[in-house]
Symmetry: C2
Subunit: 144 residues, 2 copies
DNA sequence: ATATAACTTCAAGTGTACTTTAAGTCAACA
DNA sequence: TGTTGACTTAAAGTACACTTGAAGTTATAT
């Protein structure tokens, strides 16, 4: 009965699988975010489970966590379930910060949309050609 | 009949008004994004209208535009209405890119939320203590 | 057998967006 | 009148997240 064998990825193949470059993976490793396995000859290899881990890290990164915050998270994780409260508190803080940014970004998008519409209406002659953008925002009730 | 006089801001007061620092305003000026007025003695002053302009720039910046894209926009603006099509195309492209990022960021938030909930349920003993995060995501139908 | 492609480490370089420093000028208040 | 704080320019420095280069080793395909 053969041991269930997991697919082993070279750094190049793994990089393709997670959408990063090999140098970036080495950089993340230097920063303590990943710890790949090694062949006897010194070459790295990665397994299926490492893909989920990196993708999860990229999700956290995408919510605004810096490399050093990720490092803190990873350090706590390595210390076991005892650090779950710390990890939870960190992620809750990240979420709070994220939501603040998220709200701001929605206002940015609204102004961008308004400006695009203003230009489009100006081009189409729908809006009074001389109505300023400020007056236009005012008319829409989109202050600031 | 006196000329309507507009409030004049020093760079420091203006910085406070728009939420930037004086050095950042000088930097933006170097980059061609702002063109403040000058007193005879060489000191800059800004007016009410400049506040709207900077705030608008910050909205665009907040949608992902780089300084150099803003510079291109500003350059076109200075050339008059003839460049409205270019400006419109640029902003539409910015919007497209923004919407792609926005969708990605929503997935990141979902995973962050899921992880927070997973930890909370684990701490509260609601979830089977041994259910992996991957299995948890699976159960919720939140793939990847 | 040999070429070439991918891997290794370590250090230096890059891009973006500021921030800080240095050296000096000017304005406002006690 | 002096001192404090804000202004001026130009250049150098910083933080972050990679990216690139150099010099060498190993694996794979012909």
């Amino acid at each position: 009965m053969p041991t269930a064998t997991t697919k082993q990825y070279t750094i190049g193949d793994f990089a393709r699988a997670v959408g990063l470059t090999a140098p970036t993976l080495r950089y993340y490793e230097d920063e303590g975010l990943i710890e790949p396995h090694r062949h006897r000859n010194g070459r790295r290899y990665y397994e299926e489970a490492d893909i989920n881990w990196v993708k999860f890290l990229l999700h956290l990164k995408g919510t605004g966590m810096s490399i050093s915050e990720l490092k803190q998270y990873v350090t706590w994780r390595a210390q076991g379930d005892i650090t779950i409260p710390q990890r939870l508190a960190l992620l809750q803080q990240v979420k709070q910060d994220f939501l603040v940014q998220y709200a701001e970004v929605q206002r940015h998008l609204q102004i961008l949309n308004d400006k695009i519409n203003w230009y489009e209406e100006k081009e189409a002659g729908v809006t009074d050609a001389d109505e300023s953008f400020a007056a236009y925002l005012d008319r829409l009730g989109h202050q600031e």
